[in-house]
Symmetry: C2
Subunit: 165 residues, 2 copies
């Protein structure tokens, strides 16, 4: 149940600043089989779907050499997400959680991140596996994934809120 602001009990709002500190360009779009958020898989490993990253002019020349990476980090903009929640009540958890402890799209800067497998480049389109977002989602950045710096197979997350350290 939500109140007039769309917030559920236990959720806490952020009074967002009146102005932005920096600006973003949408460099292209993500094409996926999922037309609405409700259809999207829980994460990109829950599906074998091949999705596409289409990079628009004037940014497409920057794709040169990208085929050298087996995996990419894709940053994209969750344009339908609210930005004003400090505490959220995820469906899988009891009680409220801080936004920065969650991968929810709802966050002050709704930048999502997925690690994808690069299958093919066809001009300014990359075919990839591992995305979970809505068709038409704005694309922000593409980076090569380096196992040496980006992979932490032993990382843990204790959903009860206390790290096993």
């Amino acid at each position: 149940m939500s109140d007039a602001t769309g917030h559920r009990p236990g959720e806490a709002a952020i009074a967002l600043p009146e102005t932005y500190d920096a600006g973003l360009y949408f460099i292209g779009r993500i094409r996926t089989p999922w037309a609405t958020r409700g259809e999207c898989p829980k994460n990109g490993l829950k599906t074998d779907a091949v999705c596409s990253l289409t990079v628009d002019a004037p940014f497409s020349e920057a794709l040169q050499n990208v085929e050298g990476a087996s995996h990419l980090i894709v940053l994209y903009w969750m344009d339908e997400a609210a930005r004003d929640l400090a505490l959220q009540r995820p469906r899988h958890a009891e009680g409220s959680r801080g936004t920065f402890s969650l991968r929810s799209p709802v966050r002050p800067n709704p930048i999502a991140l997925s690690v994808v497998e690069l299958l093919e480049r066809d001009g300014s389109t990359l075919r990839v596996r591992g995305l979970d977002c809505r068709d038409g989602t704005p694309l922000l950045d593409i980076k090569p994934y380096f196992a040496t710096t980006d992979s932490r197979p032993g990382a843990t997350v204790d959903r009860a809120g206390t790290a096993a350290r």
Copy 2:
């Protein structure tokens, strides 16, 4: 050697759009031992330095439960980076490379990403290991790192530009 635009031979510029598509809030700052870009280590694994993420009001309440993660993904804004290069000539490589094949801070949306080890939370400050950026760098987002979706120990990058697939 650079021309009047600051570009080196072989580099290609992007004619950036006149307006932004979305706006960002700086949620805090990153405190590191490095006052200038020239002092920064090549990447966050080349140093044992403990750095701090200081989250400002009104965003700090969103840190609740973040201690549950052993590792975090930190997104930050490379505020000194140019944004208009499609092809770059990195010092370590021969010839030009596409921006999206590089982790250079120079990119249309200069959002950097580091995976860090979370050592301690002290109120609205997180002490972490694994950063390589300038002191005072604007902070954009903090996310828990999930080994299941974010770790790809077998990922490869062929710097010659062709993936070993």
